[in-house]
Protein backbone atom coordinates (compact mmCIF):
# COMPACT_ATOMS: atom_id res chain seq x y z
CA UNK A 1 0.00 0.00 0.00
CA UNK A 2 1.58 3.27 -1.04
CA UNK A 3 2.32 5.52 1.90
CA UNK A 4 2.41 9.25 1.16
CA UNK A 5 3.89 11.30 3.98
CA UNK A 6 3.38 15.02 3.44
CA UNK A 7 5.22 15.85 6.65
CA UNK A 8 8.49 14.20 5.66
CA UNK A 9 7.77 14.53 1.92
CA UNK A 10 8.24 10.83 1.25
CA UNK A 11 6.43 8.24 -0.82
CA UNK A 12 6.94 4.55 -0.09
CA UNK A 13 5.74 1.74 -2.36
CA UNK A 14 5.85 -2.02 -1.89
CA UNK A 15 6.96 -4.41 -4.64
CA UNK A 16 6.85 -8.18 -4.18
CA UNK A 17 8.95 -10.68 -6.15
CA UNK A 18 6.92 -13.89 -6.50
CA UNK A 19 7.66 -17.20 -8.17
CA UNK A 20 8.62 -20.85 -7.67
CA UNK A 21 11.33 -21.98 -5.25
CA UNK A 22 14.95 -21.55 -6.41
CA UNK A 23 13.75 -19.41 -9.32
CA UNK A 24 15.99 -16.42 -8.53
CA UNK A 25 13.86 -13.98 -6.49
CA UNK A 26 16.45 -13.53 -3.77
CA UNK A 27 19.19 -13.36 -6.42
CA UNK A 28 17.37 -10.41 -8.02
CA UNK A 29 17.36 -8.54 -4.70
CA UNK A 30 20.95 -9.51 -3.96
CA UNK A 31 22.09 -8.14 -7.33
CA UNK A 32 20.16 -4.90 -6.82
CA UNK A 33 21.69 -4.58 -3.35
CA UNK A 34 25.23 -5.25 -4.61
CA UNK A 35 24.92 -2.80 -7.49
CA UNK A 36 23.34 0.13 -5.66
CA UNK A 37 25.25 2.96 -4.04
CA UNK A 38 25.35 2.79 -0.24
CA UNK A 39 23.37 6.02 0.23
CA UNK A 40 20.47 4.68 -1.87
CA UNK A 41 19.85 1.45 -0.05
CA UNK A 42 19.07 0.15 3.39
CA UNK A 43 20.07 -3.18 4.85
CA UNK A 44 19.15 -6.34 2.92
CA UNK A 45 17.25 -8.48 5.38
CA UNK A 46 16.99 -12.18 4.64
CA UNK A 47 14.90 -14.40 6.85
CA UNK A 48 16.32 -17.65 5.55
CA UNK A 49 16.87 -21.21 6.70
CA UNK A 50 20.33 -22.54 7.51
CA UNK A 51 20.58 -23.72 3.93
CA UNK A 52 19.83 -20.23 2.59
CA UNK A 53 16.30 -20.98 1.47
CA UNK A 54 13.94 -18.08 2.09
CA UNK A 55 11.90 -18.85 5.20
CA UNK A 56 9.69 -15.78 5.50
CA UNK A 57 10.89 -12.95 3.25
CA UNK A 58 13.83 -10.90 2.01
CA UNK A 59 13.51 -7.17 2.30
CA UNK A 60 15.43 -4.37 0.62
CA UNK A 61 14.53 -0.69 0.97
CA UNK A 62 15.67 1.32 -2.04
CA UNK A 63 15.73 5.11 -2.46
CA UNK A 64 15.23 5.98 -6.08
CA UNK A 65 15.58 9.74 -5.72
CA UNK A 66 13.22 12.67 -5.70
CA UNK A 67 10.14 13.18 -7.80
CA UNK A 68 8.42 16.55 -7.60
CA UNK A 69 10.04 17.23 -4.24
CA UNK A 70 9.09 13.87 -2.72
CA UNK A 71 11.69 11.27 -1.81
CA UNK A 72 10.62 8.08 -3.60
CA UNK A 73 11.38 4.84 -1.82
CA UNK A 74 10.59 1.31 -2.93
CA UNK A 75 10.42 -1.54 -0.47
CA UNK A 76 11.31 -4.75 -2.29
CA UNK A 77 10.19 -8.05 -0.82
CA UNK A 78 10.53 -11.64 -1.93
CA UNK A 79 8.30 -14.49 -0.84
CA UNK A 80 9.45 -18.01 0.07
CA UNK A 81 8.94 -20.02 -3.10
CA UNK A 82 8.60 -23.48 -1.60
CA UNK A 83 5.04 -24.75 -1.85
CA UNK A 84 4.53 -25.43 1.86
CA UNK A 85 5.24 -21.80 2.85
CA UNK A 86 1.95 -20.61 1.42
CA UNK A 87 0.71 -18.97 4.63
CA UNK A 88 3.82 -16.76 4.69
CA UNK A 89 3.46 -15.85 1.01
CA UNK A 90 -0.07 -14.68 1.60
CA UNK A 91 1.01 -12.38 4.44
CA UNK A 92 3.71 -10.71 2.39
CA UNK A 93 1.26 -9.73 -0.36
CA UNK A 94 -0.61 -7.52 2.09
CA UNK A 95 -0.51 -3.93 0.88
CA UNK A 96 1.39 -4.77 -2.31
CA UNK A 97 1.67 -2.06 -4.99
CA UNK A 98 3.36 -4.07 -7.72
CA UNK A 99 4.38 -7.67 -8.43
CA UNK A 100 7.29 -9.23 -10.32
CA UNK A 101 6.80 -12.87 -11.22
CA UNK A 102 10.21 -14.55 -11.53
CA UNK A 103 9.80 -17.66 -13.66
CA UNK A 104 12.46 -20.36 -13.85
CA UNK A 105 13.13 -21.05 -17.55
CA UNK A 106 14.35 -24.62 -17.03
CA UNK A 107 12.16 -27.23 -18.63
CA UNK A 108 11.78 -29.26 -15.43
CA UNK A 109 10.49 -26.19 -13.55
CA UNK A 110 7.63 -25.43 -15.91
CA UNK A 111 5.00 -27.08 -13.72
CA UNK A 112 6.33 -25.20 -10.70
CA UNK A 113 6.01 -21.90 -12.61
CA UNK A 114 2.42 -22.61 -13.55
CA UNK A 115 1.55 -23.67 -10.02
CA UNK A 116 3.19 -20.61 -8.50
CA UNK A 117 1.38 -18.26 -10.88
CA UNK A 118 -1.94 -19.88 -10.02
CA UNK A 119 -1.03 -19.54 -6.32
CA UNK A 120 -0.21 -15.84 -6.83
CA UNK A 121 -3.62 -15.16 -8.36
CA UNK A 122 -5.34 -17.05 -5.57
CA UNK A 123 -3.47 -15.28 -2.79
CA UNK A 124 -4.01 -11.87 -4.37
CA UNK A 125 -7.72 -12.58 -4.60
CA UNK A 126 -7.81 -13.31 -0.88
CA UNK A 127 -6.48 -9.79 -0.27
CA UNK A 128 -9.07 -8.36 -2.69
CA UNK A 129 -6.62 -7.72 -5.55
CA UNK A 130 -6.74 -8.89 -9.13
CA UNK A 131 -3.53 -9.64 -10.95
CA UNK A 132 -4.59 -7.94 -14.17
CA UNK A 133 -5.37 -4.72 -12.31
CA UNK A 134 -2.05 -4.53 -10.46
CA UNK A 135 1.25 -3.20 -11.78
CA UNK A 136 2.82 -6.47 -12.88
CA UNK A 137 5.77 -7.72 -14.91
CA UNK A 138 7.10 -11.19 -15.70
CA UNK A 139 10.75 -12.14 -15.71
CA UNK A 140 11.98 -15.28 -17.51
CA UNK A 141 15.09 -16.07 -15.48
CA UNK A 142 18.08 -18.38 -16.08
CA UNK A 143 18.14 -17.80 -19.82
CA UNK A 144 21.81 -18.84 -19.89
CA UNK A 145 21.10 -22.46 -18.96
CA UNK A 146 21.07 -25.20 -21.63
CA UNK A 147 17.81 -26.94 -20.82
CA UNK A 148 15.33 -24.09 -21.12
CA UNK A 149 11.84 -23.66 -22.48
CA UNK A 150 11.59 -21.35 -25.50
CA UNK A 151 10.54 -17.74 -25.01
CA UNK A 152 7.33 -18.35 -26.97
CA UNK A 153 6.33 -21.38 -24.91
CA UNK A 154 6.98 -19.58 -21.62
CA UNK A 155 4.97 -16.66 -22.91
CA UNK A 156 2.00 -18.77 -23.90
CA UNK A 157 1.99 -20.56 -20.52
CA UNK A 158 2.68 -17.66 -18.16
CA UNK A 159 1.66 -14.38 -19.76
CA UNK A 160 -1.98 -13.47 -19.36
CA UNK A 161 -2.67 -9.97 -20.43
CA UNK A 162 0.19 -8.49 -22.41
CA UNK A 163 2.24 -7.69 -19.31
CA UNK A 164 5.89 -6.74 -19.92
CA UNK A 165 8.34 -9.67 -20.13
CA UNK A 166 12.04 -9.54 -19.36
CA UNK A 167 14.57 -12.26 -20.07
CA UNK A 168 17.18 -12.42 -17.37
CA UNK A 169 20.22 -14.08 -15.89
CA UNK A 170 19.77 -12.69 -12.40
CA UNK A 171 23.08 -13.93 -10.96
CA UNK A 172 24.90 -11.87 -13.63
CA UNK A 173 22.52 -8.95 -13.37
CA UNK A 174 21.14 -9.34 -16.89
CA UNK A 175 17.57 -8.03 -16.99
CA UNK A 176 17.42 -7.32 -13.24
CA UNK A 177 17.24 -3.52 -13.30
CA UNK A 178 15.13 -3.54 -16.47
CA UNK A 179 12.54 -5.62 -14.59
CA UNK A 180 12.61 -3.38 -11.54
CA UNK A 181 12.35 -0.26 -13.64
CA UNK A 182 9.34 -1.60 -15.54
CA UNK A 183 7.37 -2.47 -12.41
CA UNK A 184 8.36 0.76 -10.63
CA UNK A 185 7.23 2.73 -13.65
CA UNK A 186 3.85 1.01 -13.64
CA UNK A 187 3.45 1.69 -9.91
CA UNK A 188 4.20 5.39 -10.34
CA UNK A 189 1.92 5.69 -13.37
CA UNK A 190 -0.82 4.00 -11.37
CA UNK A 191 -0.32 6.60 -8.64
CA UNK A 192 -0.70 9.30 -11.24
CA UNK A 193 -3.89 7.72 -12.52
CA UNK A 194 -5.33 7.44 -9.01
CA UNK A 195 -4.55 11.05 -8.21
CA UNK A 196 -6.39 12.34 -11.23
CA UNK A 197 -3.32 13.04 -13.36
Amino acid sequence: MTFINYASREINCKIVYYGPGLGGKTTNLQYIYDSTAAQSKGKLISLATETDRTLFFDFLPLDLGTVRGFKTRFHLYTVPGQVFYDASRKLILKGVDGVVFVADSQRERMDANVESLYNLELNLKQHGYELDKLPYVVQFNKRDLPNIVSYEDLKSELVRNGEPIFESVANRGIGVFETLKAVAKQVLMELRKNSGG
Binding site: N5, V67, K90, I92
Partner: protein
Protein backbone atom coordinates in the same frame (compact mmCIF):
# COMPACT_ATOMS: atom_id res chain seq x y z
CA UNK B 1 -3.94 -0.83 -6.40
CA UNK B 2 -5.37 0.06 -3.01
CA UNK B 3 -5.93 3.61 -1.84
CA UNK B 4 -2.66 5.05 -0.57
CA UNK B 5 -2.16 5.66 3.13
CA UNK B 6 -1.77 9.41 3.56
CA UNK B 7 -0.11 11.33 6.36
CA UNK B 8 -0.74 15.08 6.58
CA UNK B 9 1.57 17.49 8.39
CA UNK B 10 -0.94 18.51 11.02
CA UNK B 11 -1.77 14.95 12.05
CA UNK B 12 1.87 13.94 11.83
CA UNK B 13 2.75 16.64 14.38
CA UNK B 14 -0.10 15.48 16.63
CA UNK B 15 1.11 11.88 16.44
CA UNK B 16 4.68 12.94 17.13
CA UNK B 17 3.46 14.75 20.25
CA UNK B 18 1.56 11.68 21.45
CA UNK B 19 4.49 9.29 20.98
CA UNK B 20 6.96 11.77 22.49
CA UNK B 21 4.78 12.02 25.58
CA UNK B 22 4.26 8.25 25.65
CA UNK B 23 8.01 7.66 25.48
CA UNK B 24 8.54 9.96 28.49
CA UNK B 25 5.53 8.74 30.52
CA UNK B 26 6.41 5.07 29.99
CA UNK B 27 10.14 5.62 30.65
CA UNK B 28 10.69 3.97 27.28
CA UNK B 29 13.78 4.05 25.08
CA UNK B 30 12.00 4.21 21.76
CA UNK B 31 8.45 4.40 20.41
CA UNK B 32 7.42 4.06 16.82
CA UNK B 33 4.39 3.64 14.62
CA UNK B 34 4.26 1.46 11.55
CA UNK B 35 1.45 0.49 9.21
CA UNK B 36 0.49 -3.14 8.67
CA UNK B 37 2.25 -3.32 5.31
CA UNK B 38 5.57 -2.36 6.93
CA UNK B 39 5.83 1.39 6.31
CA UNK B 40 7.20 3.45 9.15
CA UNK B 41 4.96 6.37 10.10
CA UNK B 42 6.61 8.14 13.03
CA UNK B 43 9.30 7.45 15.62
CA UNK B 44 10.72 9.00 18.75
CA UNK B 45 13.40 7.98 21.21
CA UNK B 46 16.97 7.73 22.32
CA UNK B 47 18.19 4.72 20.34
CA UNK B 48 20.65 6.21 17.90
CA UNK B 49 21.55 4.43 14.66
CA UNK B 50 18.57 2.13 14.96
CA UNK B 51 17.59 0.79 11.53
CA UNK B 52 13.96 1.88 11.71
CA UNK B 53 13.15 0.84 8.14
CA UNK B 54 14.08 -2.77 8.85
CA UNK B 55 12.43 -2.56 12.24
CA UNK B 56 9.20 -1.46 10.57
CA UNK B 57 9.15 -4.24 7.98
CA UNK B 58 10.03 -6.95 10.52
CA UNK B 59 7.41 -5.66 12.97
CA UNK B 60 4.74 -5.84 10.28
CA UNK B 61 5.91 -9.36 9.37
CA UNK B 62 5.86 -10.38 13.02
CA UNK B 63 2.34 -9.05 13.58
CA UNK B 64 1.09 -10.61 10.35
CA UNK B 65 2.60 -13.97 11.30
CA UNK B 66 1.11 -13.97 14.81
CA UNK B 67 -2.27 -12.92 13.40
CA UNK B 68 -1.98 -15.94 11.11
CA UNK B 69 -1.28 -18.12 14.15
CA UNK B 70 -4.27 -16.63 15.95
CA UNK B 71 -6.57 -17.47 13.05
CA UNK B 72 -5.32 -21.05 13.08
CA UNK B 73 -6.53 -21.49 16.65
CA UNK B 74 -9.79 -19.68 16.03
CA UNK B 75 -8.82 -16.29 17.47
CA UNK B 76 -9.41 -13.01 15.60
CA UNK B 77 -5.88 -11.88 16.37
CA UNK B 78 -3.54 -11.15 19.23
CA UNK B 79 -3.93 -7.45 19.99
CA UNK B 80 -0.76 -7.31 22.06
CA UNK B 81 2.67 -8.94 21.62
CA UNK B 82 5.41 -8.72 24.16
CA UNK B 83 9.04 -9.75 23.66
CA UNK B 84 11.42 -9.96 26.57
CA UNK B 85 15.16 -9.70 26.03
CA UNK B 86 18.10 -9.68 28.41
CA UNK B 87 18.29 -5.88 28.46
CA UNK B 88 15.65 -4.48 26.12
CA UNK B 89 12.06 -5.51 25.68
CA UNK B 90 9.41 -4.78 23.06
CA UNK B 91 5.73 -4.16 23.54
CA UNK B 92 3.71 -4.27 20.32
CA UNK B 93 0.04 -3.34 20.10
CA UNK B 94 -2.48 -2.39 17.46
CA UNK B 95 -3.81 1.14 17.06
CA UNK B 96 -6.79 1.82 14.80
CA UNK B 97 -7.40 -0.86 12.19
CA UNK B 98 -4.13 -0.80 10.29
CA UNK B 99 -1.49 0.74 12.56
CA UNK B 100 0.99 -0.94 14.91
CA UNK B 101 2.59 0.76 17.90
CA UNK B 102 5.94 -0.48 19.18
CA UNK B 103 7.51 0.51 22.51
CA UNK B 104 11.07 -0.51 23.33
CA UNK B 105 11.99 -0.30 27.01
CA UNK B 106 14.56 -1.54 29.51
CA UNK B 107 14.88 -1.98 33.28
CA UNK B 108 14.07 1.69 33.88
CA UNK B 109 10.45 0.81 33.07
CA UNK B 110 8.17 -2.21 33.42
CA UNK B 111 5.66 -4.08 31.34
CA UNK B 112 2.84 -2.86 33.61
CA UNK B 113 3.78 0.80 33.22
CA UNK B 114 4.19 0.49 29.46
CA UNK B 115 0.85 -1.26 29.13
CA UNK B 116 -0.88 1.44 31.19
CA UNK B 117 0.62 4.37 29.25
CA UNK B 118 0.01 2.68 25.89
CA UNK B 119 -3.65 2.25 26.71
CA UNK B 120 -4.08 5.97 27.26
CA UNK B 121 -2.07 6.97 24.18
CA UNK B 122 -3.92 4.47 21.97
CA UNK B 123 -7.19 6.37 22.40
CA UNK B 124 -5.56 9.63 21.33
CA UNK B 125 -3.84 8.04 18.35
CA UNK B 126 -7.00 6.28 17.23
CA UNK B 127 -8.83 9.60 16.97
CA UNK B 128 -5.96 11.15 15.01
CA UNK B 129 -6.05 8.27 12.51
CA UNK B 130 -9.83 8.59 12.28
CA UNK B 131 -9.39 12.27 11.52
CA UNK B 132 -6.95 11.40 8.68
CA UNK B 133 -9.40 8.83 7.29
CA UNK B 134 -12.27 11.30 7.28
CA UNK B 135 -10.10 14.00 5.69
CA UNK B 136 -9.13 11.60 2.89
CA UNK B 137 -12.78 10.53 2.44
CA UNK B 138 -13.96 14.17 2.39
CA UNK B 139 -11.42 15.13 -0.26
CA UNK B 140 -12.36 12.10 -2.30
CA UNK B 141 -16.06 12.96 -2.04
CA UNK B 142 -15.62 16.48 -3.31
CA UNK B 143 -13.54 15.05 -6.13
CA UNK B 144 -10.30 16.89 -5.51
CA UNK B 145 -8.38 13.81 -4.39
CA UNK B 146 -5.46 14.47 -2.15
CA UNK B 147 -2.90 16.86 -3.49
CA UNK B 148 -0.72 14.09 -4.85
CA UNK B 149 2.76 14.99 -6.04
CA UNK B 150 2.24 12.32 -8.68
CA UNK B 151 -0.74 13.93 -10.36
CA UNK B 152 1.55 15.47 -12.98
CA UNK B 153 4.42 13.02 -13.04
CA UNK B 154 5.81 12.42 -16.53
CA UNK B 155 7.61 9.47 -18.08
CA UNK B 156 10.74 11.66 -18.12
CA UNK B 157 10.52 12.08 -14.33
CA UNK B 158 10.41 8.30 -13.95
CA UNK B 159 13.28 7.77 -16.39
CA UNK B 160 15.33 10.29 -14.41
CA UNK B 161 14.92 8.20 -11.24
CA UNK B 162 16.83 5.34 -12.84
CA UNK B 163 19.63 7.38 -14.37
Amino acid sequence: MTTPVVMYEQEYEQLKNVITRLCADANAKFVFLVDKSGQQIAAHGEMLNLDTTSLASLTAGNVAATDGLAHLIGERGFPVLSHEGERDHMYISKVASHIILVVIFDERSSLGLVRLRVKRATGEMTSIFESIDSKVARERDVGVGFDSPFAEITEDDIEALFN
